[in-house]
Amino acid sequence: MAVTLIGLVIVTAAAIFIAWPLLSGGGDSDAPVVPEMSALEKDKNAALEAIRELDFDQRLGKISDEDHAGLRADLEKRAMKALSAADAGSAGEPGLQSVTSHGASPSTSNAEAGGFCSSCGNQFKRDARFCVTCGKKLLKSGSGRGRRRTGS
């Protein structure tokens, strides 16, 4: 008897639980969805990551200065291209805005962009003194190429 009861409870519970989204019309459809990173954002991140690694490889002596300069220029171009494309299309790209919003301010545009944090790679505003993502102090290098060093 008890077994039959438990069995009934299991069957009913499973049936209601599975049918619920159909009965309530939509189920979890209102659940918040984290937008996927846009292709441009990914491009930018990949390029920044590659720049960091390239710089470190140069310091480790794995790559000649000449190769380093060439490769770095390519990567910088790629990052900037992704950035400007992302900003140009930001109205139709809600994904990029919300992804960057937990890093740099969503309104950061190229005009305001100060460069990329060399510690975490996030973009920062021109007047920023600390990286909003990792908290590293940003030192102005004056190179004007949009990249600042952190630390001493």
Partner: protein
């Protein structure tokens, strides 16, 4: 309780069918309600398999011998630990356990992705539910774990004594977790193919899962080796047994994938290849299950044999047909954006490394299935023994270790001659020096000298990587050495965690080489009070003790171990006679140090002459393998630990949409 368990698996099977159908239909028609119902089905599936596992556990613990499974794999005198382990001690239970682990993985995937990858998730859910449903269908229609007997035996026939070992409680679960979790990357790969969202989103989503399953496959293999070493009593740990091979092959392809996936992330190359590796890894786990359970191949694992082989073969066929079909359909979308620029580049070493891994996997596959094929085709069963595997795989293994030393220091895209010279000066010196030292110390074996030399080369590369990186950070940031080292690792966990794993692999490799090349073996009769010399140790036979419990009779030999006349301690090799089923087993005793293992086996003992026959082995450096296992764990943890950015991203994703973040 068996009725509840039976109900749970039948219902679970129905739920799996509904869930996969609803998910696929919902995905195709973009019907959110259907997709949500599929998600709920995935959770319900986990709950139901959980109920089934609990029901079986309850039956085992209450020793309900009316249930066929309980009567076959436990007894009233079986200790509690092994009674719990009996859950996966028999074929039916292990299939249920397998399904349960898969269901848990599925539930975790659902929770992780509740706010993301929404387009792909229906197909992920469907793939995992179809796989889970397949396993349950075997339990529902073919081999019911809750089957009752027409009578109740007064006693169960007990767990196979070979399985009554502490490794039993950890080896099968870790290997199963490794096998089963390969389903997750596979499901995401299929979902990417099905939806056409072929960017590397699926790769980033499953990166940790791939590493997770690789880690558990590594542990499963290593634990299996350790178990074989202490239980089977032949002095070794690996015999290229079909079932060992079955667990080794997915590890190989999964290792290949972990490497080649970096090329896709960084260079946008090898997209098709990575898909193939993920599909292959999953297919190999199913193939492994087929090998273990079909009985087509005789193996040390014969305790899980059954007539389920054809079902696994059919399922394997369906998996390959569907996934490769999808892959061919999407081929035009998977073109590489880049090309290999130079053979002296890190990309090239990665490619070579993949060739080695897949080459070894193919060799192992061929050696494993050849006996079956030859029997089918020519009617003659030819056994492929360890010499075949060793001869082909030893050079490939050496080449892999060599690449391990080359890859990290060589630059991406192309390396210049001068940078190569600078990078390899120390490692090459270390390699040559080790070779010379090994030669001088009398390691006469060519293979061993080369292996030690290459291992030392690879280790030197790894250490210089840490050293140089630390020095650069010290100079750049003005940090103290330890801070610099920990931040170096922290900032690039995948790279340095990977290096730690490489160190572990070198340790395992050195352990394997030393213990197989320099092994000493002696079979000898020793009279009580007399001693025998082996590899610098003196072993004295001090006597025999007999013990008896209602479960088992134990005959224990007392051996005193001396080094240079100094007593180090005692070891007690045993012969056991289990009463249910009546079966003798050998319990080895090992005197283990970092340098070598003295491995003792009691053969027979003659009361009249007071002579015991022993098999003694001296296995050099075998503990390096087990220590390597710990290092491997450490490296994997470093790799898997979330970075600062990932932790903040995760925290942000928990904040409901619409609310503002203050930053």
């Amino acid at each position: 309780m068996s009725e509840i368990g039976r109900l749970a698996i039948v219902l679970g099977f129905i739920v799996a069918i509904w869930g996969s159908a609803a998910s696929i239909l919902g995905g195709l028609r973009r019907d959110k309600a259907l997709v949500a119902s599929g998600t709920h089905a995935a959770y319900a599936f986990s709950a139901l398999t959980g109920i089934a596992v609990l029901a079986l556990l309850q039956l085992l613990l209450t020793r309900d011998f009316n249930v066929e499974y309980v009567a076959s794999y436990s007894s009233s005198t079986l200790p509690l630990w092994y009674t719990i382990a009996a859950l996966w001690g028999g074929m039916k239970g292990s299939l249920l356990w397998w399904t349960f682990i898969l269901a848990v993985c599925n539930a975790v995937v659902q929770v992780q992705n509740r706010h993301k990858n929404r387009d792909q998730m229906p197909y992920v859910t469907a793939t995992m539910l179809i796989t889970g449903g397949f396993f349950l269908s075997l339990l529902v229609f073919v081999t019911d774990p809750f089957e009752r007997l027409p009578f109740t035996p007064s006693e169960g026939s007990d767990l196979n004594p070979l399985l009554q070992n502490y490794w039993m409680t950890i080896h099968p679960p870790s290997l199963y977790i490794g096998f089963v979790s390969t389903t997750v990357p596979f499901a995401f790969a299929l979902a990417a193919l099905a939806t056409g969202k072929l960017s590397d989103a699926w790769i980033r989503t499953t990166r940790r899962w791939a590493l997770f399953s690789w880690f558990f496959l590594s542990l499963g293999n290593l634990f299996g080796a350790a178990w074989a070493y202490v239980v089977l009593g032949w002095g070794g740990y690996w015999a290229w047994d079909p079932v060992e091979n079955a667990a080794f092959m997915p590890w190989l392809t999964s290792s290949a994938y972990l490497h080649s996936v970096m090329i896709q992330e960084k260079k946008d190359m090898l997209k098709v290849w990575n898909m193939v590796l993920v599909i292959l890894t999953f297919a190999l786990t199913i193939f492994g299950t087929f090998l273990t359970r079909s009985g087509v191949i005789s193996s040390v694992h014969s305790f899980t044999q059954s007539g389920l082989g054809p079902f696994f073969l059919i399922f394997l066929g369906i998996i390959l047909a569907v996934s490769l079909g999808l892959l061919v359909w999407r081929l035009p979308m998977l073109k590489s954006k880049n090309e290999l620029e130079s053979v002296f580049s890190r990309e090239a070493t990665f490619l070579l490394n993949n060739l080695m891994f897949v080459g070894i996997a193919f060799t192992v596959f061929w050696g494993t299935v050849f006996p079956v094929l030859s029997e089918w085709v020519r009617g003659v069963k030819i056994t492929v023994g360890p010499p075949f595997f060793n001869q082909v795989n030893a050079p490939l293994g050496l080449a892999l270790i060599f690449l391990m030393g080359v890859g990290p220091v060589i630059a991406w895209r192309r390396a210049s001659w001068s940078s190569l010279k600078r990078a390899f000066a120390i490692p090459v010196f270390a390699g040559v020096a080790t070779g010379v030292i090994a030669l001088v110390m009398g390691a006469g074996n060519f293979y061993a000298i080369v292996a030690f030399s290459i291992s030392s080369f690879a280790l030197a590369t790894m250490f210089t990587e840490f050293w140089k990186g630390m020095r650069v950070r010290q100079a750049m940031m003005g940090e103290a050495p330890w801070t610099a080292l920990s931040r170096l690792i922290g900032k690039n966990r995948r790279r340095y965690g990977g290096y730690i794993v490489h160190v572990a692999m070198v340790m395992v490799f050195v352990g394997i080489v030393a213990s197989s090349v320099f092994k000493i073996e002696k079979q000898t009769g020793i009279e009580i009070g007399q001693s025998v010399e082996i590899g610098g140790y003196d072993v004295r036979f001090d006597g025999i003790e007999d013990e008896s419990t209602e479960h088992v009779e134990i005959r224990k030999a007392k051996l005193a171990v001396f080094d240079d006349g100094e007593l180090l301690g005692f070891v007690y090799p045993e012969k056991r006679f289990y009463k249910k089923p009546e079966q003798p087993t050998t319990e080895v005793a090992i005197w283990s140090t970092i340098g070598s293992d003295l491995y003792t086996v009691l053969g027979t003992y003659d009361e009249a002459s007071k002579i015991g026959v022993f098999q003694l082995f001296l296995n050099p450096m075998i503990s390096w393998m087990w220590i390597g296992g710990f290092v491997l764990f450490l490296g994997t943890v470093v790799c898997m630990w979330p970075t600062y950015a990932e932790r903040t991203a995760e925290a942000t994703s928990r904040i409901p949409a619409g609310s503002k973040t203050t930053s």
